[in-house]
C-alpha cells in the first residue's frame, strides 16, 4: 500500500513539474533587446565579460519563461571600442532592427554615445559601467553600477575611513594618475578628500593613458616614499607601475588602484595587499544576494570555457548582470515594453540585484554609493571595507 501511495505521489509530482515546465516555455514573437559591445579593439578584454554575462542571463531568462511569456532575443553588435560607431549601431538597432528594448554598451564613451541616441528616440537605456555620473543627463538612463552621484567624494571618503581605522594609519600620500577620463576626476577628488582628512600630499603626477614607461614614475614615488600611494589606474596601468616599482626594489606601504584589470593584478606577486574599488566579489555576503550564487557558478564555467585568464565575477560582470536584472524587473512589474512606462517605474522603485537593493531617485538617476574597498590577500580579491560587507574573517592588512 505504501509503495502504491508513493508511486501515485511520484506520478503527481512528475506531472506537475512537466506541466510547470510547459507553462514556462516562452512563446510568440521574440522580444528583441539590442545592444553593442566592445568585442574588438582596446576594450575587448572587458567587452567579452559583458557578452558572456548577457548570454548567460538571456539563456536563463528564456528557461524561466522569457519576458511577458515571450522569448527574448538579444541582438549584440560589435562597436569595435569606438564610441562613434556605437552611436551609429544604436541608431541601426532602433530604426533597422526595430528592437523592443535597449541594453547599454561598454564603456563610458560608448555609453555616452548610446545615451544620446536613446534620448533622441525616448528609449530606456540601462547601462553597466558608466564612470562619470555627472555626465548622465538623460532622464531615461539608469546605471547598474551603483557608484552614487558623486563617487569622487563618497568613495574616496570610504577609502579613507578604511585607512583611518588602521593602527598605523598613513599620514602622507602620493596621488599618481592616468588622465583617462573616468579615472582622472576620481584622483582629483582624492586630492581634495586627502587634504580634508589631514593627509600630507608629497607627490602628485599625471600621465597620458597608454604610457609605456613607468620607470621614472616609479623612481619619483620611491624618492617621495609616501605612506599611501593612490594610483588612478585603469586596466594594466597598475601592474605596469608595480613592475616598475619592483625593478627598483621599492615595496609600497599602503597602495590603492582605482580600476585595475582584476586578473593580472590578483595574480601578480607584487600586488600583495593592493587595494582597489569594487562593488561585488564572489564571496559572502555578496553571493547571498538574489541570483548571485548561481550566476557566479555559471560565469566561472563560461569564462573558463571562453579561455579568459581571469574567470572570477567582480565589478564588470556583476554590473552587467545587474543591468539585466533591472530590465527584467521593470518589464515584469509593469507588464509593459513601453519605454516611458519602464522609465517611470525604475525611477519610483527599488530593484533587488546581486549588488543589493538599488534605487534610482537621486541626481542623474543614481542612488547609493555601494562601492567597497577590496584587497589582494593570499592571491584572492576580498572585500575588506566596510566591515558590514567584508569577506568572512577578512580585514584590511597594513604594511
Amino acid at each position: 500500500m505504501d509503495i502504491v501511495r508513493r508511486a501515485i505521489v511520484g506520478a503527481i509530482v512528475v506531472a506537475g513539474l512537466a506541466g510547470a515546465a510547459l507553462a514556462q516555455q516562452p512563446s510568440g514573437t521574440p522580444i528583441k533587446v539590442g545592444s553593442t559591445l566592445a568585442l574588438t579593439g582596446p576594450l575587448a578584454s572587458t567587452g567579452i565579460v559583458h557578452q558572456l554575462v548577457g548570454e548567460i542571463y538571456v539563456a536563463d531568462l528564456n528557461k524561466r519563461g522569457g519576458l511577458l511569456g515571450r522569448p527574448v532575443e538579444w541582438i549584440v553588435k560589435d562597436d569595435q571600442s569606438k564610441p562613434d560607431l556605437a552611436r551609429t549601431l544604436y541608431e541601426q538597432l532602433i530604426t533597422v532592427d526595430k528592437v523592443d528594448l535597449l541594453m547599454g554598451p561598454y564603456a563610458t564613451g560608448a555609453i555616452l554615445s548610446a545615451m544620446a541616441v536613446a534620448q533622441r528616440y525616448n528609449k530606456l537605456l540601462i547601462h553597466h559601467t558608466f564612470g562619470i555620473p555627472n555626465l548622465a543627463k538623460y532622464e531615461g538612463q539608469f546605471p547598474a553600477w551603483s557608484l552614487g552621484a558623486d563617487p569622487a567624494n563618497t568613495f574616496n571618503n570610504t577609502l579613507h575611513d578604511a585607512l583611518a581605522a588602521q593602527p598605523n594609519a598613513p599620514k602622507t600620500i602620493a596621488v599618481v594618475t592616468s588622465k583617462f577620463p573616468s579615472i582622472h576626476f576620481m584622483a582629483l577628488g582624492e586630492r581634495e578628500v586627502a587634504k580634508k582628512r589631514g593627509m600630507n600630499e608629497v607627490l602628485f603626477l599625471e600621465w597620458e593613458f597608454g604610457n609605456r614607461d613607468f620607470g621614472p614614475i616609479a623612481a619619483r614615488i620611491k624618492d617621495a616614499n609616501p605612506d599611501f600611494i593612490y594610483v588612478g589606474a585603469i586596466g594594466l596601468e597598475g601592474n605596469q607601475l608595480l613592475d616598475a616599482l619592483k625593478k627598483i626594489d621599492y615595496t609600497p606601504k599602503y597602495h590603492f588602484y582605482m580600476y585595475p584589470a582584476p586578473g593580472p593584478m590578483v595574480t601578480s606577486a607584487d600586488a600583495k595587499n593592493a587595494l582597489a574599488a569594487t562593488m561585488f566579489e564572489e564571496h559572502a555576503p555578496f553571493v547571498n544576494n538574489p541570483g548571485a550564487g548561481a550566476f557566479v557558478k555559471a560565469f566561472n564555467e563560461r569564462a573558463a570555457k571562453a579561455g579568459l585568464p581571469y574567470t572570477g565575477v567582480e565589478t564588470q560582470a556583476a554590473a552587467s548582470f545587474t543591468a539585466w536584472q533591472m530590465l527584467e524587473a521593470a518589464v515584469t512589474a509593469t507588464k509593459s515594453l513601453d519605454d516611458k512606462v519602464l522609465i517611470d517605474w525604475l525611477k519610483k522603485n527599488r530593484v533587488d540585484t546581486i549588488q543589493g537593493k538599488l534605487r534610482f531617485d537621486g541626481p542623474s538617476n543614481y542612488g547609493d554609493d555601494l562601492m567597497r574597498v577590496k584587497q589582494v590577500q593570499n592571491g584572492k580579491w576580498v572585500v575588506v571595507w566596510p566591515k558590514s560587507v567584508a569577506a568572512p574573517g577578512a580585514s584590511l592588512q597594513g604594511p
Binding site: 582596446p42 578584454s45 567579452i48 603626477l205 625593478k247 579568459l308 585568464p309 581571469y310
Partner: protein
C-alpha cells in the same frame, strides 16, 4: 618645488635608454623596409606582436630566449611571402601603407581569435631578474633588449656598409634598373631583405614579451613613437634608429622625472618637428 635627486635622474636616464633600445629595435626593420624596399610597413608592428604571443605560448614548453630559434626563421619566411605578394601585384609605396594596415588588422584579429583580447603575461625566470650598480637597479630583460638592439644594429650596419650584399641592397634602393643592369637580382635581394625585416620584427616581439604584458590592441600603441624614431634616425639606416630611439626614450624619461609625466608623449614628436625644421631634407 624640490629638485629631483641624482639617483632619480640617473635611474630615469637608464629607464629611457632601455625603452629607447626597444624603440630602436622595433624601428630597425621598419627603417630598412621603408628606406631600401620603399615600403611603409605597418604590419611590422603586427608581426612583432604576433612573435610576442608566439613567444608567450612557446615559453610554456621552452625557454623564452630559445623561442628565437623558432620565431626568427618562421618570420623570415613570412616576410619573404609578404614580399612575394607585394612584388607580384606591384604594390606602390603609398599602397603599401594601406595594404600593411589591412594586414595589421587581420593579424590583430587572428591574435584575438587565438589568445582572446585579455591580458597575457609571460612569466619567466628573466622577468624578475635584476642587479644593482651603485644606487642604480638594472633589470635583466631590459638589459637583454639593449644588448640585442645594439648587436643587431651594428651587424646590419656592417652588412649594409661593408659587404657586397649591402652594396647591392643600397644600389637597388637607389636605382633598381641600373642595379639590375650591373647583374644584381633585384627580386631576390628584395625578398631576402623583407625576410630579414620580418625576422627583426620577430626578435623585437620576443623582447616585448619578456618585459610587457600583451593585449592585441597594444599593436597600435607603439606606432607613433617608433615612426618618429625611424624618421629621426633616417630611413634605410641601422644605427640611426637605435640612436634616435635612445634619444627619444631618454628625453621622455627625463621629462617624466622632472615635470609632469603627461608631457612625455609630446617629446618625441616635438623632437621630430624640431629636427625636420633644422635639418630639412633629412627625409627623402
Amino acid at each position: 618645488m624640490t629638485l629631483p635627486s641624482a639617483t632619480l635622474l640617473a635611474q630615469s636616464v637608464l629607464s629611457g635608454i632601455f625603452i629607447g633600445a626597444l624603440y630602436g629595435l622595433l624601428g630597425l626593420g621598419l627603417s630598412l623596409s621603408w628606406g631600401l624596399l620603399r615600403q611603409i610597413n605597418l604590419a611590422h608592428f603586427a608581426l612583432a606582436f604576433l612573435a610576442a604571443y608566439l613567444c608567450y605560448q612557446l615559453s610554456h614548453v621552452m625557454d623564452p630566449l630559445a623561442t628565437l630559434l623558432v620565431i626568427v626563421p618562421l618570420f623570415a619566411v613570412i616576410g619573404v611571402g609578404i614580399q612575394w605578394v607585394f612584388a607580384r601585384f606591384r604594390v606602390s609605396p603609398f599602397n603599401s601603407l594601406l595594404v600593411t594596415f589591412g594586414l595589421t588588422v587581420i593579424v590583430e584579429a587572428i591574435i584575438q581569435g587565438i589568445w582572446t583580447a585579455d591580458f597575457r603575461k609571460l612569466e619567466s625566470s628573466y622577468g624578475a631578474a635584476k642587479f644593482k650598480v651603485g644606487a642604480l637597479y638594472v633589470p635583466v630583460p631590459e638589459l637583454m633588449t639593449l644588448v640585442v638592439a645594439v648587436v643587431l644594429a651594428l651587424a646590419v650596419h656592417v652588412v649594409l656598409r661593408h659587404t657586397d650584399l649591402g652594396r647591392a641592397l643600397r644600389a637597388t634602393a637607389e636605382d633598381g634598373p641600373i642595379a639590375a643592369a650591373f647583374g644584381i637580382n633585384e627580386r631576390a635581394v628584395a625578398m631576402g631583405l623583407a625576410g630579414v625585416c620580418a625576422a627583426l620584427a620577430g626578435v623585437a616581439g620576443v623582447c616585448l614579451a619578456l618585459s610587457y604584458t600583451l593585449t592585441p590592441s597594444q599593436i597600435y600603441a607603439w606606432i607613433g613613437v617608433v615612426f618618429a624614431t625611424v624618421m629621426l634616425g633616417g630611413l634605410g639606416g641601422a644605427i640611426g634608429p637605435l640612436v634616435a630611439g635612445i634619444v627619444i626614450g631618454v628625453s621622455e624619461s627625463l621629462t617624466m622625472a622632472v615635470t609632469s609625466p603627461a608631457w612625455a608623449p609630446l617629446v618625441s614628436f616635438s623632437l621630430l618637428i624640431v629636427v625636420l625644421l633644422v635639418k630639412r631634407g633629412a627625409i627623402k
